[in-house]
C-alpha cells in the first residue's frame, strides 16, 4: 500500500510542475482563444536562463527566480507584441501557426547558443530528504508545490481583485463587449502573456533543478504535457488546468507503476485523446451547447490561386526528368530525391490540411507507419520491395485513418492537438512494441529499392523512381480535386454545418481525404525506409511534420503544384546557399512566421 502512496505523491508533484505550464496556457487560451505552442519554448528559455544565473553568475535562489521570471516575461511580451498582435484580424489558424513558428525559432536559438548537449542545473537547496510514507520528499518538491500553490493563489487574487484582473476576465468572456466598454484588450493580452511566460520560465528552471539536467528536447515535451493538462481541464479554465495537471501527473505515475517508465507519455496522450473524444470541452465544461455561428471563409485566407498553364508544368516535369542525363553531381540528385520524398508528404498534408481543413501536426506518423510496414514486409516476409512500398501506403492509409478518426468530430485548433497527440502515440507504440518494431534498436539492413527484380541503386534510377511516383500521386490528386470529392472536401472545410445540412457526412469525407493522403505519405515513408536502410522511432519526428506544414503553407494550402514547388524550395534553397544543418530549422521557423504574417495564401494561392 505504501508504494501506492509514493506513486500518488510523485504523481502530484509532477502534476504540480505541469500545472505551472498549463495555467499559463489556460490564461492565454481564455483571453485569446489560442493554444500557445510556444509555451514550452519559454519554459526552455527559463531553464537555460536559470542555468546561466546559477552556474555562471552564482545568484542565490530568490534572485534566480526573479531573474528567470523577469527574462521569461520579457520574451512573452515580445512574442505577443511582434508575433501575435499583428495577426489579430487574420484567419483563425494564423496565430496557432505563428506560435509553432516562434517555438521552433526559440528552441533553435537556445540550441545554437548553448549546444544541444544536456547540462547539469544544480539545485540550490540543501539536499535533505524527509520521510513520508514509504518514500521521501525533499525541499525542492516542497518548493515546486509552494510555487505552484502560491502562483495559483496570486493569480486568483489578481483576477478577482485587481482592475487589470477584471479586465482579463471580461476580455476572456466577451472580447468585443470588453473592448466596447473601454477595456484595452492589447494591454490585457500583454499582461496575460507576461504572467504566463513568467510562470512557464520559472517552471522550466524548477524542473531543470528537479532532474538536475536540462536539454533542448524539454521544450516540446513541456508544451505537449501542458496542452494535455489544459485540454483535460477544459481549455481556458484556470482551476481546471490545475486539476487537469494533477490528474495527468497521477495517471502517468500509476501508469508507470503498472507498465514501466517508457509508457509514461503514452498514458498522457491516451488521456488526451480519450478526453477529446468523450468531452471535447474538458472534464469540467458544461453540457452540450448550440452549434456556433458560421465560420464561413474564415478558415483559410481567401485568394485566387495562380493558374499555371499545363504546358509549363509539362515542360518543368520533362526538364526534371531529363536532368540525370546531364552531368549533374550526385549531390544535386540527392537533394532533389529528398525534395520529391518531401513533396509526397506535402501532397498528403496539403489535401488534409488545405483542402479538407484538418491542420494535422502529426503527419510524420503516416511516414513512420508506411516506412515500418514496407521495411518489415520486405525483411520478414520477403515481399518484393516495389509491392512492399505500396503495402506501406495502403497500411498507412488504413491505419492512419483509423487512428485519426476520433478527431473527426473536432474542429480547428483541437484537430491540431489531437493529431499531434496521435502522432506521438504512434511513435511511442513503435518504441514500446518491441516484438514487432524491434523497439529502440530500430530496423537495420532494409533492402534497397527494387522494381521487377532490378535493384535501383544508382542515384539516377532512385531519382527517376521517386520523381515518377510523386508525379503520379500529384496527377491523381489533381484529378481528385476536380471531382465531386474535391468540392465536397472544400465545402466541409468552409462550413461543416451547412455541409451536413446538405447531406455530406463528415466521417465519410474526412476518412476519404485521410485514406488518399495517408497512401501518399505512406508511400513516401516506404521509399525513404529503403533509401536509408535503417529506421527507428525517431526517424520521422515532429520536426518533419512541421517542415511539411511549412511547405504546404509556402505553396498555398490545398495547392498541388504549390506543395511540390514548396518542397523544392525548402529542401533546395538551403542546399544552394550551403546553410548548415543546425540553422535550417531556424530558417524553417522564420519562413513559417513570415508567411503567416505577410503571405498567408502562400506563393501560388490557396484552393
Amino acid at each position: 500500500m505504501s508504494s501506492w502512496l509514493d506513486y500518488t505523491i510523485n504523481g502530484l508533484i509532477v502534476g504540480n510542475v505541469y500545472a505551472l505550464v498549463a495555467v499559463g496556457l489556460a490564461l492565454i487560451f481564455g483571453v485569446s482563444r489560442l493554444i500557445n505552442f510556444a509555451q514550452g519554448s519559454i519554459y526552455l528559455v527559463g531553464a537555460y536562463i536559470g542555468w546561466v544565473a546559477v552556474v555562471q553568475l552564482h545568484t542565490p535562489l530568490p534572485l534566480t527566480i526573479i531573474v528567470v521570471a523577469a527574462t521569461a516575461a520579457v520574451v512573452g511580451l515580445i512574442i505577443e507584441r511582434f508575433g501575435l498582435r499583428p495577426l489579430q484580424n487574420s484567419v483563425r489558424i494564423a496565430p496557432l501557426l505563428a506560435t509553432i513558428g516562434i517555438s521552433f525559432v526559440l528552441d533553435q536559438l537556445v540550441m545554437l547558443t548553448f549546444s544541444p548537449n544536456p547540462r547539469a542545473l544544480p539545485s540550490q537547496l540543501p539536499d535533505v530528504r524527509f520521510q513520508l510514507g514509504g518514500g521521501t520528499i525533499g525541499p525542492l518538491d516542497l518548493l515546486i508545490a509552494g510555487v505552484g500553490i502560491s502562483s495559483a493563489l496570486l493569480l486568483f487574487v489578481f483576477l478577482r481583485y485587481s482592475k487589470l484582473g477584471w479586465a482579463v476576465r471580461a476580455a476572456s468572456q466577451d472580447r468585443d463587449a470588453a473592448m466596447q466598454m473601454g477595456v484595452d484588450v492589447n494591454r490585457v493580452n500583454q499582461a496575460v502573456f507576461g504572467i504566463a511566460a513568467a510562470l512557464g520560465g520559472v517552471s522550466g528552471m524548477l524542473v531543470g533543478m528537479y532532474y538536475n539536467q536540462i536539454d533542448t528536447a524539454m521544450s516540446l515535451q513541456a508544451t505537449l504535457k501542458g496542452v494535455v493538462a489544459e485540454v483535460v481541464g477544459g481549455a481556458g479554465n484556470v482551476p481546471g488546468a490545475v486539476i487537469g495537471s494533477l490528474l495527468l501527473g497521477l495517471v502517468e505515475s500509476y501508469g508507470v507503476a503498472v507498465f514501466g517508465t517508457s509508457y509514461r507519455n503514452l498514458f498522457a496522450f491516451l488521456l488526451l485523446v480519450v478526453v477529446l473524444v468523450l468531452r471535447p470541452n474538458g472534464l469540467f465544461a458544461s453540457a452540450r451547447q448550440a452549434p456556433p455561428e458560421p465560420l464561413t471563409g474564415t478558415f483559410i485566407a481567401p485568394s485566387r490561386p495562380v493558374r499555371i498553364p499545363r504546358w509549363v508544368l509539362a515542360v518543368a516535369a520533362a526538364g526534371f526528368a531529363v536532368l540525370p542525363l546531364f552531368p549533374v553531381s550526385f549531390y544535386v540528385l540527392q537533394t532533389l530525391i529528398n525534395a520529391w520524398l518531401l513533396g509526397m508528404l506535402a501532397l498528403s498534408l496539403t489535401l488534409v490540411a488545405g483542402t479538407m481543413g484538418q491542420v494535422s501536426l502529426g503527419h510524420a506518423a503516416l511516414l513512420a507507419i508506411g516506412a515500418y510496414t514496407s521495411a518489415l514486409l520486405s525483411l520478414t516476409l520477403n515481399v518484393p520491395v516495389g509491392l512492399a512500398v505500396i503495402g506501406g501506403g495502403l497500411v498507412s492509409a488504413a491505419l492512419g485513418t483509423l487512428l485519426i478518426s476520433p478527431s473527426f468530430r473536432l474542429r480547428g485548433h483541437y484537430v491540431s492537438i489531437a493529431t499531434l497527440a496521435i502522432g506521438e502515440i504512434v511513435s511511442l507504440v513503435i518504441l514500446n512494441w518491441e516484438s514487432v518494431t524491434r523497439g529502440p534498436i530500430g530496423i537495420s539492413g532494409i533492402p534497397p529499392l527494387s522494381l521487377f527484380g532490378y535493384d535501383l541503386i544508382s542515384p539516377s534510377s532512385v531519382y527517376w523512381f521517386s520523381l515518377a511516383v510523386m508525379v503520379v500521386l500529384a496527377l491523381l490528386q489533381g484529378r481528385l480535386l476536380t471531382s465531386h470529392l474535391g468540392r465536397s472536401f472544400r465545402a466541409i472545410r468552409d462550413d461543416d454545418i451547412a455541409a451536413r445540412a446538405y447531406g455530406l457526412s463528415l466521417n465519410r469525407y474526412k476518412s476519404l481525404a485521410f485514406i488518399f493522403g495517408g497512401f501518399a505519405a505512406g508511400v513516401s515513408g516506404g521509399i525513404a525506409a529503403h533509401l536509408y536502410s535503417y529506421i527507428n522511432h525517431e526517424t520521422f519526428n515532429t520536426q518533419q511534420s512541421i517542415l511539411a506544414l511549412t511547405v504546404v503553407i509556402l505553396g498555398g494550402l490545398g495547392n498541388v503544384v504549390g506543395a511540390i514547388v514548396g518542397s523544392v524550395a525548402l529542401v533546395g534553397l538551403p542546399e544552394v546557399f550551403r546553410i548548415a544543418a543546425e540553422y535550417r530549422i531556424l530558417i524553417y521557423g522564420i519562413v513559417l512566421l513570415l508567411l503567416v504574417r505577410f503571405r498567408p495564401q502562400g506563393l501560388l494561392g490557396t484552393i
Binding site: P294, T296, S483, A498
Partner: protein
C-alpha cells in the same frame, strides 16, 4: 382540410431548453403538402431553434417530428437532407471559397447516384475510385447536374449566372442569400425551410425574392418560412404561426393573426417595448 388527414410535416410537443431558458416550448404544427406556412415572432422567439430541431442540427429535449408519416426525431442532418429536407440559414452560410457553381452543386450532393453507389461497407472506397476513374456514367451525371445548376441560376435572372465561376466570398450579401436558395433548390427538396430569405435586402430585391417564393409555391413546393417582412408574409402564406418566448401564441390566416391582441402585445410588449414606452411617454 387535407392537412388533417395527411400532413407532410407534423411537430408534436417539440421542446428545447438551453439551461434555464426554454427556447422552443411544446410546439405543435402540421404542414400539408404544397402548403406555405410562415413563422413570425419577435427576435429570440425560438424560430431558428425550431428550424434547427426540424433539420437535425439540434435535438429536441421532448416531442416528436414526423415527416411523410415517418418519425424523424433526432435524425442527423445528413439523413434528413437525403429525405428531401433543404434549408437556408439566417445569417447566410455559403461555402466562401467555392465558386457559385460548386456551391449549388453541393446542394445536389444527395442526388448523386452514379458516383456514390449505395453499397454497404466498401461504398466510400468505390466512391473514391469512381471519382478518380470517372467512367462515362459518372461524367454524364456530373454534366447533367451542371446543366441543371445553370437552369436554377437562371431563375435569378442576371444576378448569379454571370458570376457562376466566382468564389462566393466575392459576392454581395444579397447574392449570397440567392446562392443559398439556389443550393437548396438543387437538392430537389420535398420540404423547403427558408430562414429570413430577404434579411438585409432592399425593396427591389425583396420583391424579386417574394416573386420567386410565390413561383416555388405555385410549382407545388411545400415551404416553411421565417420572415420579418409582414407584407411578404401576408401575401405568400396559407397560414401564419406566431411564436413568442418559445411558445406558439397564435395560428391562422394572415389577416386573423394580424389583429389578434396577443400578437400585438407580443410585438409591442417585447420586441418593441422601448419604442412603445417612448410613444406612451410622448
Amino acid at each position: 382540410m387535407s392537412e388533417q388527414h395527411n400532413p407532410m410535416l407534423s411537430l408534436r410537443g417539440l421542446t428545447r431548453r438551453f439551461g434555464g431558458l426554454t427556447a422552443v416550448n411544446a410546439i405543435d404544427l402540421d404542414l400539408a403538402k404544397g402548403e406555405l406556412i410562415s413563422i413570425i415572432g419577435p427576435n429570440g422567439a425560438g424560430k431558428t431553434t425550431l428550424f434547427n430541431l426540424v433539420t437535425g442540427l439540434d435535438r429536441p429535449d421532448e416531442g416528436a417530428v414526423r415527416f411523410e408519416g415517418q418519425d424523424i426525431t433526432g435524425l442527423s442532418p445528413e439523413r434528413l437532407a437525403a429525405e428531401g429536407i433543404a434549408r437556408t440559414f439566417q445569417l447566410g452560410r455559403v461555402f466562401g471559397n467555392l465558386s457559385v457553381m460548386d456551391n449549388v452543386l453541393i446542394g445536389a450532393h444527395t442526388r448523386l447516384r452514379a458516383v456514390k453507389p449505395a453499397v454497404p461497407v466498401i461504398g466510400p472506397l468505390l466512391e473514391l475510385g469512381l471519382a478518380l476513374l470517372r467512367p462515362a456514367g459518372v461524367k454524364a451525371e456530373e454534366e447533367r447536374l451542371r446543366e441543371e445548376v445553370k437552369a436554377i441560376l437562371a431563375r435569378f435572372g442576371e444576378r448569379l449566372l454571370p458570376r457562376i465561376d466566382q468564389p462566393a466570398y466575392s459576392l454581395s450579401y444579397a447574392n449570397r442569400r440567392r446562392v443559398e436558395i439556389a443550393r437548396a433548390l438543387a437538392l430537389k427538396p420535398r420540404l423547403l425551410l427558408l430562414d429570413e430569405p430577404t434579411a438585409g435586402m432592399n425593396p427591389t430585391e425583396t420583391a424579386e425574392m417574394q416573386a420567386l417564393v410565390a413561383e416555388l409555391k405555385t410549382e407545388g413546393l411545400t415551404i416553411l418560412l421565417i420572415e420579418h417582412k409582414l407584407e411578404m408574409v401576408m401575401r405568400l402564406s396559407d397560414r401564419v404561426i406566431v411564436m413568442d418566448e418559445g411558445k406558439k401564441i397564435a395560428e391562422g390566416p394572415g389577416e386573423v393573426v394580424r389583429s389578434d391582441p396577443k400578437v400585438i402585445e407580443a410585438y409591442l410588449g417585447h420586441g418593441l417595448s422601448g419604442a412603445a414606452e417612448q410613444e406612451s411617454a410622448a
